[in-house]
Amino acid sequence: MQFSSRRKKYNTNSQTELYLHPLQFYGQPPLENISLSEFEAFAVDRLKLLKTIENLGVSYVKLSEQYTKKLESESKALNFLYRPDADDRKSSGPTEYEKRRKDHISHFILRLAYCQTEDLRRWFIQQEVDLFRYRFNELHPKQKLEFLHRNNLQYDTISVEEKKALQDKLVNSSYAVSGITVEDQDFYKVPFQDALDLVRTRKVYLKAGYVFIPHQDIVTIVLNDFRTRLSKALALTARSLPAVHSDERLQPLLNHLSHAYVGQDYSIQKNVGKISLEQIDSLSGKSFPLCMRQLHQSLRENHHLRHGGRMQYGLFLKGIGLSLEQALQFWRSEFIRGKVDADKFDKAYAYSIRHMFGKEGKRTDYTPYSCMKVILSNPPSQGDHHGCPFRHSEPELLKQKLQFYKVSPSGISQILELVKGMHYQLACQKYFELTHNMEDASFSLNHPNQYFIESQKVLGGGKDLKREMDIPQRSQENSATRGPSAAPEAAANASQELAEVTEELDSFFQDA
């Protein structure tokens, strides 16, 4: 593979030139100034896009019709580019240029957030590669060629004579290559090191260290190249991270991006008091996600939960609508059955419950934990029952638990497969589908309280809970939809909201 060394400095003119093309390798970072609000808004939007890609990638075959349809609508909703042609005359929202600029900038911001650990890098690279694959696929053939040439992938094509001579071998090497393919398409001669996936699966003709790839398959090569470049770039980025982290404005943002939950936070309860304490036992079997069901069961059995469990479960209960008084009564009555007497409860535990409801100390109204937080932070140790069972339980124990909760054997193996692939939230979603007798949950599980609400919807408690769906999105999402054409005063408002949002983000990760 040859790459010309383009060491010229990019000025904003060449950046404009960059945005004329629908797809890029993200070789050069953006070189302009942007506001903090744009910084965060862009990053959050791209993160949502990447999370969509992750979910879709497990639920559907990549590049199948359903996959591309859903990805297209999500890209549209988030104002990322989705049309290979920059036809601005029709659209009323951000221009194609603006969308591509956002794409460029948001990619580089997320690099900063996701370069820090091996796990984060791997996740980021996987989703970016899938996004790239989808976009490359959407290009017209001419644009694909143009992309290859512009990015110096100088693979040679073989002559017509050579093609004829190798025709039989080419056809017999790949299911997708017919005699017509050989006649019609150019075949590229690529060193085998650049096409390992094709070599490994023996899906290509290999001769003297070169593989022969029809134009239609050149994507694999391009993807590998993209992956390699991104991997190297992330390693470099990680080394310059200390400099970035010294900027106080950026550090909290970047930290939270890599842990961010970007959906509803279930902190505003419109149905406070609608749940009675007597209902909790039956609700735990019907509508609680596995983590909360497990916590509830442990609480009932041991009349106690340790701190991690109290936080995770307590905030969840708050989210489903328990009032402070109900919560106090609930915990107190259970703990008293154990080794704790009423006095000790009032002294030691009541305080922390009131703290959860924002009635003590900083008086921040703490928000129930999202799946991301449960999975990533504070793993359980001996004697703990919190965490995500799909992430933190031994597969054998998980299996037993699911059997105990009467999940079918085939369902259990589906769940275990997802767990093996580290798709914990999808495993929980599958648990939802199995326990509610549904084929498709039709929502993307991100939050235990979301599980509860969806479950109640399915089980017929629809009327009261419809209002839940109107919970306002968090303030930062509002600033994102305003777009780059916002007036300066909007920017000032945005940075104030940003300060509030940062504090809210901070609160996610603090224990009472």
């Binding site: 017999n172 299911y175 085998f192 090191q193 003709y205």
Partner: protein, 409 residues
Amino acid sequence: MILCSPGDTSAFTSVEGRILQVQKNYFQNREFSFTLKDDIYVRYQSFSTQTELEKEMQKMNPYKIDIGAIYSHRPNQHNTVKSGTFQALEKELVFDIDMTDYDDVRSCCSAADICCKCWTLMTIAIHILDRALREDFGFQHLLWVYSGRRGVHCWVCDEAARKLSVAARSAVAEYLSLVKGGEETLKKVVLTDPIHPFIRESLAVVERYFPRYALQEQDILGRKESVDKVLALMPEDVRKELQQDFQNEKKPENRWKLVKEQANRKQGTAKRGQYFEKEIMLQYCYPRLDVNVSKGVNHLLKSPFSVHPKTGRISVPMDLKELETFDPFAVPTISQICEELDRPRTEEEKSEDTKEKENEKDAAERRKIRDYKRTSLAKYVKYFDQFLEKMARSWKGELLKKSDLQKDF
């Protein structure tokens, strides 16, 4: 004993005592490992010179000597290097074919035993892999070595091969793998349309050996248990018919003819399961390699010319021109070598000694070198020298090319 590593021309001593240094510190950064008495294993051994290596070997008396990768720093100093910076940079691409991996398809021996009947499996393996590595992958410098007991190793020493990543090594090994599955898998080879040219080439080799090796020597269609095993690999309808036919036909060659007829019929009609006769041949004969040995950039493999502790045989390089007549039981053992060395010197040898008395040190070296020529090792060392020379020539060619390019602007 002169020890040479295939990739280290800086360490090899040819008959004339040439030493070539292609890359700075290549030899010094090479990892060796010794297995000592009582199974004590010491890794990260490295040496500044060949003499140092020899002295250490004489001092430690290792039972096994393995060769590993070229690292970024001297392996014996790896603890002093900042964590994360000590890395394997290069290593020959290696393959290990072990006869025990064929236990489910050979009836003559099992476990560590081999005989001339099942040795054919190694011959087949070498033919198939050697062709693929050269013609498909374009590698040129391949050294096949008898492991000393029950298998063979292949060292691919091309520069491109030495620089392959883990992913690339694993891809090469997977490309070369056709037999998949462990104890629980009955049918270990499954072929689908289209049949890749690589598989066709491999089948051509297997077909050459199959009648004598499988039908005669292993008698897979003779004894009842074997026949049942073979039939189990076929589609049910075919199996039933053949079970009938085999009642009347007892000769293995004719039985196999019947199998092929069935296969031809199936290939004309069915879309799946129609390649069973090819699958059977491959399951019984196709090389079985351990992908994990080939994958690792820092994996250590037995050194050529070392002595196998259990058999005493020397791990000799194999000249593929004589592959058909290679006899693992005729490979020299260490006791044999010692005997040959102890033989009284001939008049000719004694006169050569006096000629070189001028330069004391050289004379000792030369006598050491000449000594091996008095043993059965001579032809193996000669073959090895030819191999190294070929590599040296191709480097010189590369160096010339590079310097030519540098003159261009």
